[in-house]
Symmetry: C2
Subunit: 238 residues, 2 copies
């Protein structure tokens, strides 16, 4: 009410939300849905951007074909029982009503932004979802996860392999939305844990995860057998 | 040949294998096979022993029933596509020839030991496998693993949740055999990685894993959402 009584701000300040004011005009509509094989080219670009961010491009060898074959095989198991991808889509206008899906009803949320997002890669990340093919819908991030298992709890959980929001959309709560979507799914399925890993130098991420309620376990270290050393085990005489 | 020319050792030293000598008489026959629902009582005891060893019994809440329901559901997916357990069995006499199994042919190996193993829990860990039900076969350890996924490689892998050998059987190469069995399976399936975690204070385990060819990654930390905090996400308005 105080904001309504105040004089209208000058046009150049229209995008700034003042304390106590009604949010100004930039609404970002978002949707989280199960990814399909048609989304793989976007997923491939997102994974590569993540490798760049993590300074790990020397470990990156995924191709569109290899992702498609492993994430969306000819007879895929039901979502959540194996490798599963949630895709985050963004639009300046509302999404169509969520379709009834036996496995997952897309999540819709809108965000009021102080400033519109300038997306330099908007065209290359245009969504391929059939229900928004004529709309202005952009892919902004993803989360890739799969079941894990806690023998102490005797319960499945989810392990998040990747969670990523494109740089220009960060700091708007979208990563939180993606992580919450996985946590909500785990909770609804009666699962015991959601786990993932973080690089110890990524303080921003650690702070963010702790604010989400996660414990960061200091004592555990990852061990990895890979490459030629792993392949050699195929011929070890046990 | 030098050992054969040497005078026979005195009886009290018969169990000690001298350099270059023929191994003396204590042979331990071992088998690694896929576990079944009938093995769950043993698996439950093994997981509890592991929790004791890791000083983590406060996190242990598995029961025989909850393990059975989650590891061996009514319509289980094929081995290796979900939660999978290899069981390690030990016998003073040879195992019957391996049955043809469409998913996994049991691995057989014999070890020459310097001393026979005194197993204080031999009776409670008697194997329930039907083909050795009248033999003197003991369950000595297990490994629980399931598929994971590397998006950088665009390949599945295996994640080892647990690997455990009962205390009286350690330092005989049985842990190496269990880990090698998982690595060999991964390599045969064309998988990209085998991963697991280790507590940073468990120097013996870290040394062992490095000798097996594993890298221990210093920078990554595990994040975990669990308990009531996780359950609360079921009701979060995304």
């Amino acid at each position: 009410m105080a904001a309504a009584a105040a004089p209208p701000p000058p046009p150049s300040a229209a995008a700034i939300t003042l304390p106590g004011s009604i949010p100004s005009g930039h609404t970002l509509f978002t949707r989280i849905r199960l990814a399909t094989n048609e989304d793989v080219p976007h997923i491939h670009k997102l994974i590569h951007q993540m490798a760049v961010f993590e300074h790990l491009t020397h470990l990156f060898s995924a191709t569109i074909d290899s992702l498609s074959e492993t994430l969306f095989p000819p007879h895929p198991p039901p979502p959540f029982t194996s490798f599963t991808v949630f895709l985050l889509e963004l639009s300046p206008s509302p999404f169509p009503p969520a379709q009834n899906n036996p496995h997952f009803t897309p999540l819709l949320k809108s965000f009021n932004l102080d400033l519109p997002v300038e997306d330099p890669e908007k065209e290359s990340f245009r969504s391929s979802a059939v229900d928004v093919i004529f709309n202005d819908v952009t892919v902004g991030g993803f989360v890739l996860f799969f079941p894990n298992y806690s023998s102490f709890l005797a319960k499945p959980g989810f392990y998040i392999e990747d969670i990523f929001v494109r740089e220009c959309y960060r700091r708007n709560g979208l990563g939180k939305m993606l992580l919450s979507a996985v946590a909500a799914q785990a909770a609804k399925m009666g699962y015991g844990r959601v786990e993932w890993v973080v690089l110890d130098w990524n303080i921003n991420a650690i702070t963010f995860y702790e604010q989400m309620g996660a414990q960061v376990l200091p004592e555990w270290r990852i061990c990895r057998l890979t490459g030629e050393i792993l392949q050699a085990y195929a011929h070890v005489n046990l």
